[in-house]
C-alpha cells in the first residue's frame, strides 16, 4: 500500500516536474553547462591562486624564522655572508595594482553682507571663476583622485571635481613620462600650470578659503593648462628649477581660438634653499602669454541692461613669488610660521566690443594692470593656526572707449582677511575666516566663512 502510494507520488512529482524540465531547450542546458564550467574554472583558478599565496607565505615565514634564528644565535655576524640579503616580500594580489584613491570633502558656510552677483573688482575685465561663491551652506568642490605608476615609463594622475551643482569636471588628468634624459620631467594632459606659487596647489591646500584677488582678477581663480609641461632641476646643491609649458590657451585670460599649434606658453624658474636648521625659502618668476577671441565679461549689472564686453587680443602676464617658512629645527609640529607673497602684472592689447541690445561697437583697447597679496600664517600651538592676508589691485593704465563701462576712476580694490584653523590630524581641518573687501567706491563686503576639509584614503605629499 505504502509502496504504491510512493510510486504514485513519485510519478505525480515526475509529471509535475517533468514538463518544465522537458521544456528547457538544449540551448538552455548548454548555457547552464557552460556557466557551471565557467564557475568551476573560476573557482579552480582562485583555489590555485590561494594555494600559491599560502605556499609563498609559508616560505616567507620560514625564511623570516630562520633569519631571525640565525640573527638571534649570532648577533651581527662579522663577516659578510655569501647570500645577498633579500628584501621582505611585497604585497601580492591584483588589488596591489589598484591606483591610490583619495577623496577630499570640502564644504563651507558663507555669510556675505552683499549680494554675490554684484561682486565686481572695479577697473578690471573679469572672467573665469571669481567671487566669494553663494551665501549660506554649500558643498564646495569635492574631489576624487586616482594615481598610480602605469608602467616603468609612465605614471598617471586624475582628479575629478564634483561641484555642488551636481556637475562633474576634470580638474587634473595628466601623465608623467619617467624615461626622459638629463633629469627632464615631462608632464602632459590637463594640470594646474606651474605659473606662480599658489596656482599649482589645489584649493583645499590653500591657507585661506578663497583665492587672492590678484589670482581672481588676472587668472580667473586658477590657471588650468591643457597641454605639455617640461621641468628640469639643475644638478647643483642649490635648488634651481626651470619649466616651460605650451597648451591650448582655453583658460582665462585666454579663450578657445580653434587653432593648430600652441594657444599659450608659460615659462617659470624657481630657486630656494635653507638658512640654518630652522628656515627655508623659495622664490620664483614666471611668464604667461595667451590670446582671446571674444572673451566675454557680462556687464549687465553695471549698465542695468543686457550687455557684455568682448575682448579680442593677446595677454601677457608676469608673476614674482616668494615663500619663507620657519620651524624650530625644521620641526613644524609645535610651532611654525609661513610668510608668502606674490605680485602679478598683466598687459592686454586688442579690441574691446560692447554688445548691448543687439548692437555692437568695437574700439582698440589696451591695459597695464597689477595686483599682489601678502599673507602670514602662524601655528602658535599644536593643531592651531592663525593667519592674516592683505590683497590689493591696481587698475593701472587702461585705454579704449569700451573701458569707460567698468573703470571707476583710479580706485584700488583691496581686501583684508583673517583666519584661524584647527587641524586635529593631517587629514582634517576646520577653518573660520573673516574678510572685508572694498572692491569699488560703493561696494564693500563683509565675508565670513566656516569651512571644513576632510581627506579620505591615500594622502599625497604636499609641495613646499
Amino acid at each position: 500500500m505504502h509502496k504504491r502510494m510512493l510510486v504514485a507520488g513519485a510519478s505525480a512529482l515526475a509529471l509535475l516536474a517533468g514538463p518544465p524540465a522537458r521544456a528547457a531547450s538544449d540551448a538552455d542546458l548548454e548555457t547552464i553547462r557552460t556557466q557551471i564550467q565557467a564557475l568551476k574554472q573560476d573557482y579552480d583558478a582562485r583555489i590555485r591562486a590561494l594555494e600559491e599565496r599560502l605556499k609563498a607565505a609559508e616560505a616567507d615565514a620560514a625564511q623570516a624564522k630562520s633569519q631571525a634564528a640565525a640573527i638571534a644565535a649570532a648577533p651581527a655576524a662579522p663577516a659578510a655572508s655569501a647570500a645577498p640579503p633579500t628584501p621582505a616580500s611585497a604585497t601580492r594580489g591584483l588589488a596591489a595594482f589598484n591606483p591610490a584613491i583619495s577623496a577630499i570633502l570640502n564644504g563651507q558656510y558663507a555669510n556675505l553682507s552683499r549680494d554675490p552677483r554684484e561682486w565686481r573688482m572695479a577697473g578690471f575685465l573679469q572672467g573665469g571663476e571669481v567671487g566669494p561663491g553663494r551665501r549660506g551652506f554649500s558643498l564646495g568642490e569635492s574631489e576624487l583622485g586616482f594615481s598610480a605608476n602605469v608602467d616603468p615609463k609612465f605614471s598617471g594622475n586624475v582628479i575629478v571635481s564634483l561641484t555642488p551643482e551636481d556637475t562633474v569636471s576634470v580638474e587634473e588628468a595628466y601623465g608623467i613620462f619617467k624615461g626622459a634624459p638629463a633629469g627632464i620631467v615631462p608632464k602632459f594632459g590637463r594640470f594646474f600650470s606651474g605659473l606662480g606659487y599658489l596656482n599649482e596647489q589645489h584649493a583645499h591646500v590653500w591657507d585661506f578659503t578663497d583665492a587672492p584677488l590678484a589670482y581672481q582678477a588676472f587668472l580667473g581663480g586658477q590657471y588650468q593648462q591643457n597641454g605639455v609641461q617640461a621641468t628640469w632641476v639643475a644638478p647643483t646643491d642649490r635648488f634651481l628649477e626651470l619649466g616651460a609649458e605650451v597648451g591650448n590657451g582655453d583658460s582665462f585670460p585666454g579663450t578657445p581660438r580653434d587653432k593648430n599649434g600652441a594657444g599659450d606658453a608659460v615659462l617659470f624658474a624657481r630657486t630656494g634653499g635653507d638658512v640654518g636648521d630652522s628656515h627655508s625659502w623659495q622664490a620664483g618668476v614666471s611668464y604667461l602669454r595667451t590670446g582671446s577671441r571674444s572673451r566675454e565679461d557680462d556687464v549687465s549689472d553695471l549698465l542695468g541692461a543686457d550687455a557684455a564686453l568682448r575682448f579680442t587680443g593677446h595677454s601677457r602676464l608676469w608673476n614674482a613669488s616668494f615663500v619663507w617658512k620657519w620651524a624650530p629645527h625644521g620641526d613644524p609640529h609645535y610651532r611654525n610660521f609661513k610668510l608668502q607673497g606674490e605680485y602679478l602684472w598683466r598687459r592686454e592689447e586688442g579690441d574691446l566690443d560692447l554688445a548691448s541690445a543687439g548692437a555692437a561697437s568695437g574700439s582698440p583697447y589696451s591695459s597695464r594692470q597689477s595686483g599682489a597679496y601678502l599673507q602670514a600664517i602662524y601655528q602658535f600651538m599644536p593643531l592651531w593656526r592663525f593667519g592674516l592676508r592683505y590683497d590689493w589691485l591696481d587698475p593701472g593704465d587702461v585705454e579704449g572707449a569700451g573701458a569707460a563701462v567698468f573703470l571707476a576712476s583710479s580706485f584700488h580694490p583691496r581686501r583684508a582677511t583673517a583666519m584661524v584653523d584647527w587641524t586635529p590630524s593631517e587629514f582634517s581641518r576646520v577653518r573660520l575666516q573673516f574678510g572685508r573687501a572694498q572692491l569699488s567706491p560703493l561696494f564693500s563686503d563683509n565675508e565670513l566663512f566656516v569651512q571644513y576639509i576632510l581627506s579620505l584614503g591615500a594622502h599625497g605629499a604636499h609641495i613646499f
Partner: protein, 299 residues
C-alpha cells in the same frame, strides 16, 4: 663681464655636479651616519632631516629636491615613514637613478623583520603604519642587518671601490657586534623594567632590551596627549607602576613632566637617532648614550 656673471651663477648654485665622489641622500640621521661609516671618504653624505625633527612631518623643501637631483643613492627607512615627502621630492627631482625600484633607491626596512604590524587598519587609530613600525633604529641588531645590505648596494653601484667598501664593512661589522655584546651586558639589569612611552616609537628598543611598555601618553599614535587620557595613564600606573617614561629628543616632554610630578616616575629623554643628544655623536655613541640614560632612569 661674462666671467663675472658666470662666477655669480656658480657661487649661487654651489658645486654639486663638480664633485666626483659618490653622493648619498639619507632621509634620517641614522642612515646618514651608517652610510658615512661604510662609505668613508669615497662618499659624500647628505642627511635630509635633523635629529630634532619629527621624521613623520617633513616638508618637500627646495634644498631636498636639489640634493635628490644629484644623489647616486637614496637611503630611506621605508615602511611609509617618509610617505609624506619623499615620493614628491624624488618625482620633482627627476633623477632616474634613485626612483623607487632603481638600484639607487634603498629602503632599510626591507631587510629587517618588522614589529608592531597594526591589527586594525583604520585612521581612527591615529598615525598607523600598515607595514609595521618603521622606527627600526631602536635595536642595534637591525643596524647590522641594514649595514650588510647597504654595503652590498654600495659595492654594486660604485664597483670601482668594491674592495674599499668590503674592508670598511668588515671592520664596522666586527666593531659593531662587539659593541652590541657590551651594550647587552650593560643593559642586562633593565630586562623586565616597566616603562611608559610618550609616542609608540620604541617598539624595537623594548624588544631588544626586554623593557615592558605599560602605557603610552599619546592617546593614539601621532595625537597630542589629552588630560583625560593622561588621567587614564595615571590610573594604569597605580595598578602597574613603571620606572620611567621615555621621550624622544624631537618631542616636547611637557606631558611626561606632568606625569612625573604626580608619580615617582623618571622622565628619560632618549636621543632616538644620531645627534638627538649632545653625547650621541655617531652610531656607537647613540646606543651607548641610550643605554646609559636608561640605566640612570631605572636606578
Amino acid at each position: 663681464m661674462r666671467s663675472i656673471l658666470r662666477f655669480i651663477v656658480l657661487a649661487w648654485l654651489g658645486t654639486g655636479a663638480a664633485h666626483a665622489s659618490f653622493n648619498i641622500f639619507a632621509t634620517v640621521p641614522e642612515w646618514g651616519a651608517l652610510a658615512q661609516e661604510l662609505g668613508g671618504d669615497k662618499v659624500r653624505v647628505y642627511t635630509a632631516t635633523s635629529p630634532l625633527q619629527d621624521p613623520h612631518h617633513v616638508q618637500a623643501k627646495p634644498s631636498l629636491i636639489a640634493r635628490a637631483r644629484t644623489a647616486d643613492l637614496v637611503v630611506a627607512t621605508g615602511a611609509e615613514l617618509e610617505v609624506g615627502w619623499l615620493p614628491l621630492v624624488l618625482q620633482q627631482a627627476g633623477n632616474d637613478k634613485v626612483q623607487p625600484g632603481a638600484p639607487g633607491y634603498f629602503e632599510a626596512t626591507a631587510y629587517v623583520p618588522l614589529l608592531g604590524k597594526p591589527t586594525r587598519l583604520d585612521r581612527a587609530e591615529g598615525d598607523v603604519h600598515p607595514q609595521g613600525d618603521p622606527h627600526i633604529q631602536g635595536d642595534p641588531r637591525n643596524i647590522a642587518r641594514v649595514a650588510e645590505a647597504l654595503a652590498q648596494r654600495l659595492a654594486q653601484l660604485d664597483p670601482g671601490n668594491v674592495a674599499y667598501y668590503r674592508s670598511r664593512y668588515q671592520d664596522f661589522a666586527a666593531r659593531w657586534s662587539a659593541a652590541i655584546a657590551k651594550w647587552q651586558q650593560e643593559a642586562a639589569p633593565l630586562h623586565g623594567t616597566a616603562v611608559v612611552v610618550q609616542h609608540k616609537g620604541f617598539t624595537y628598543l623594548e624588544a631588544w632590551l626586554g623593557l615592558k611598555e605599560v602605557a603610552a601618553l599619546e592617546p593614539k599614535p601621532g595625537m597630542e596627549p589629552t588630560t583625560s587620557h593622561l588621567a587614564e595613564v595615571l590610573a594604569t600606573l597605580q595598578r602597574e607602576p613603571a620606572k620611567m617614561v621615555l621621550v624622544a629628543a624631537y618631542q616636547s616632554d611637557q606631558a611626561s613632566q606632568w606625569l612625573a610630578q604626580r608619580t615617582k616616575i623618571h622622565v628619560v629623554k632618549l636621543p632616538f637617532t644620531v645627534g638627538g643628544t649632545d653625547a650621541a655623536k655617531d652610531l656607537f655613541s647613540f646606543y651607548e648614550d641610550t643605554v646609559q640614560r636608561l640605566l640612570k632612569g631605572a636606578a
